[in-house]
Every structure is written in structure tokens, then in C-alpha cells.
Amino acid sequence: MGIPFIPVRDHVGSSMQYVNRGVPIKCPFTSETVYLLPACHPDVGILHAQMADAYGNCRIFGQLCTCPEIALAANYDIMTCERIIPNESVRKYPNLTEIPWFAVDAVVEQPWGAYPVSCWGFYWYDVEHLRMWVNAGNEFRKTGKIDPLEEYFNKYIFECESFDNFMSKIPYKRLRKLVELDGHQPIIT
């Protein structure tokens, strides 16, 4: 928010207070205890939104989580989006813009950019793929056997020239199913 801290109602009296940078104080107006949360300034933010225009005005459908805050706090922002829309569309419904273009430094149109997790209005989680990834990681963690994890990294990351190349390794039938599982949530382009 452009300020050094915000007061919140949390953490005081727990062990969290001792392992975090925040400071509890007595509120000068109400005399009650309040916890001051210091601002953080990431160097880079990488976010995926449903739509953005070429300038970086971003439209997010579904839960925002902390995306607008990350975008504005980070020094440099890379926005990937399912679809780039014209600036005229943004100006037609300005309320739908969640991130203003000031915050954004690079915009990339990348359909399926959130895969294998979900993207509201576009596709659901690929649970099978996530399970494969988690199992490979768990096998390494529990037995020290690194082969499944290495195999995953090689096939889906290192041997892929681009994200489109990675997506081409996912069966088309599966992708159609993920689109259906989203339930076609309404979005405005």
C-alpha cells in the first residue's frame, strides 16, 4: 500500500510473534494491543490472470488471493494471461480491472498458463498430473530415490523449449476434460 506497515489483529500472544518481524504495540487511539505488520518488497512478481491488455491492465475473475498486492509491491512484474484484450474493453468496464498498468512490466499471452492448477472460467486442476509430481517428490523425500523426480523434470521442464512445447505433452482429451470440469464459469472479455 506504499506505507511501511499496517496494523492487524493477529499473532500477539502466540509463538508466531517471536518468529516474525512484526511488532505488537498499544494503539495510540484505543489503548488496545495491535500487531504491526511490516511491508515487504519483492524484487520480482510473477502472476497469471485471465485477461490483460497490452499495457498491463489486468482482469482477474475468481478469488484475487493476494495478486493485486503482489503486483503493486514487487519491483518488477511479469504478467502472463490466458488472453490479451483490447484497451477499449478495459475502458468499457474499468471496475473489472484488478491490477493497474503501473505495476506491470511485461505481459505475455500464454493460454493454459496456470496448468496444472485451475484458472477460473478456463480449466480445472489436472489432479492426475499433480499426483504424479507429488509422488515423485515424496519418493525422493522418503527413500532418496531420485529417478522419478529427475524423469519428471527432464520430460516436463528441461527438455521443453517453450511452455507450448510442455503443453503439447498433455493429451488433448485430458485438456478437454479440464475445460469441462471448470463448469464454464461466466467471464467478461
Binding site: R9, D10, G62, Q63, L64, C65, W124, Q185
Partner: protein
């Protein structure tokens, strides 16, 4: 006689505690399943809040995988982000907080962070706290779910992630600047606990059918208070309740897990 798993008992018991038309701040896992069950049975108008920013969704597409995914947001009345969700609870709009945890002590303080002595080198690191710390201090009544295991119900927990009644002193929560009244119920697979008004200590209220008070006590490191009038028996889920629960958690990701002896 209906067959059910321990986690199904926890989900069913959690669900019957929720009142229709009240607001509940829901965490991942068992609390989500219990709230979904309540929405489909006795509390069809219950209002959910998820920390990712959706208020009053109708979970008709099934169990969400995370608090921030599409299923946790559809047909909401409003969707913004984490800041809105936390503003609503900080302003006192939320009646129930529904959380899980790894360990709990006599005063309802919950550990969802780690096992070990050194925060930078834990023996086990859990995914806590997430939004649970905030829920524990701002929601009016907090319901905590966990299986009844001796390694969980401890005299001293490894880390206080979410405060309950602290050290039991009357002004602990006020000095912490907290809004909600604190832990209300602890729901396990074989016992339900409340908290004593005067001493703020965990009190045994109900025991599952087929188990005695001693069966419960041997699964706890500390001895809870026992009311003078004795304890009641936990109601069991019906076949219809189990059918609904198993439809919600189709793969049994949460409900089929086993309890450690």
C-alpha cells in the same frame, strides 16, 4: 448399524455443531467437508467465507481442492481477495472459525506449525498457520477438529500457532488484542470437548458410543475437566449422512485416513 471411519465421525460431528444462517470461516480439509455436509443437511443457508476472498459460495461442483480454487468461489455473493476476507472477520462479521491442527493443549492453544525445539531446524514442519491464526483470534467461536491421539493432546505443545486461552489467565486474550471469544468446541473421533467458563480448561462433554471416559483419557497427556453431571454420548451419523460425506470426498482423501494408536 452404520459403518463409518474415525474421520467421518469427526466430519459429521463438526457439521452438526454448525447453525443455519450463521457465518463460518472455513479452512482446508475436514472443516470444508463438515461445512459442505452441513450445507446439504441441517444448515442449507450457512454462509461460508474462504480466506482467498469468496463469501457465501454455493459449493455445488463438489469439494474444493484449495480455499482459492473455482469450486470454493462459485455462486458467491462477492469475491475479492484475502484483504476483504480478513476485513470481514476483523470487523466481527464471522460467527464460527473452523480449523484443524496437529497438537492442542489444555487451554485450546493449537499447533499447526512444527514439531521440534528450533524453529529454523524443525523435526517436522506442517503447512500452518495459513489463515488459521487470524481465524482463531477474530472469529467469535472457534471449532477445532483433530483425531484423538496422545501425541496430539499434550501438556505442552511445541509451538503456539493459534492462541486459545493462552495460559488460562482471564485477561490473556484481551491483552493479545483479540476479538473473538475463543475456542468453543474440540471435535475428535471419539470425544467432544468444550471449555470451562471459569478456568478456561478443556472439558469433556461427549464420548463416542462403545467407548468409556477412560478410553478417552488414555489418549490424552493431560486430564480434561469432567462435568459433575457426567458426559453424554456422541450421536452417530446415519446411513444418509455417510452417503453424503462419501459423495463429498469421493476419493476418500480426507475421510479414509487412519488414526495412529
Amino acid at each position: 448399524m452404520v459403518d463409518y471411519t474415525p474421520y467421518e465421525m469427526i466430519a459429521y460431528t463438526g457439521s452438526r455443531l454448525l447453525e443455519d444462517k450463521k457465518t463460518v470461516f472455513v479452512g482446508t480439509g475436514l472443516p470444508m467437508i463438515a461445512t459442505l455436509h452441513a450445507q446439504r443437511t441441517l444448515a442449507p443457508n450457512i454462509i461460508l467465507l474462504f480466506e482467498a476472498g469468496s463469501l457465501a459460495p454455493i459449493l455445488e461442483l463438489g469439494l474444493p481442492i484449495s480455499v482459492g480454487d473455482t469450486r470454493a468461489g462459485i455462486k458467491s455473493c462477492i469475491i475479492k481477495g484475502l484483504c476483504m476476507a480478513f476485513e470481514l472477520s476483523q470487523r466481527g462479521f464471522i460467527d464460527y472459525g473452523f480449523i484443524g491442527g496437529a497438537e492442542i493443549d489444555h487451554y485450546g492453544n493449537v499447533n499447526a506449525t512444527m514439531i521440534g525445539e528450533d524453529y529454523s531446524h524443525p523435526i517436522v514442519r506442517f503447512p500452518g498457520s495459513g489463515g488459521a491464526g487470524h481465524m482463531a483470534v477474530n472469529c467469535d467461536r472457534v471449532i477445532i477438529t483433530m483425531p484423538l491421539e496422545r501425541r496430539r493432546f499434550r501438556k505442552k505443545i511445541h509451538f503456539v500457532t493459534n492462541i486459545g486461552y493462552g495460559d488460562g489467565s482471564l485477561s490473556y486474550r484481551r491483552h493479545a488484542g483479540v476479538l473473538g471469544s475463543g475456542p468453543w468446541m474440540v471435535v475428535t473421533d471419539r470425544a467432544v470437548f468444550g471449555f470451562d467458563e471459569a478456568t478456561k480448561k478443556m472439558t469433556l462433554l461427549e464420548v463416542a458410543p462403545g467407548y468409556t471416559v477412560n478410553d478417552v483419557l488414555e489418549r490424552m497427556e493431560f486430564k480434561p475437566m469432567i462435568p459433575n453431571e457426567g458426559v453424554k454420548t456422541m450421536p452417530e451419523p446415519t446411513a444418509e449422512d455417510i452417503k453424503i460425506l462419501r459423495e463429498i470426498d469421493l476419493e476418500g482423501l480426507f475421510l479414509k485416513r487412519k488414526i495412529v494408536k
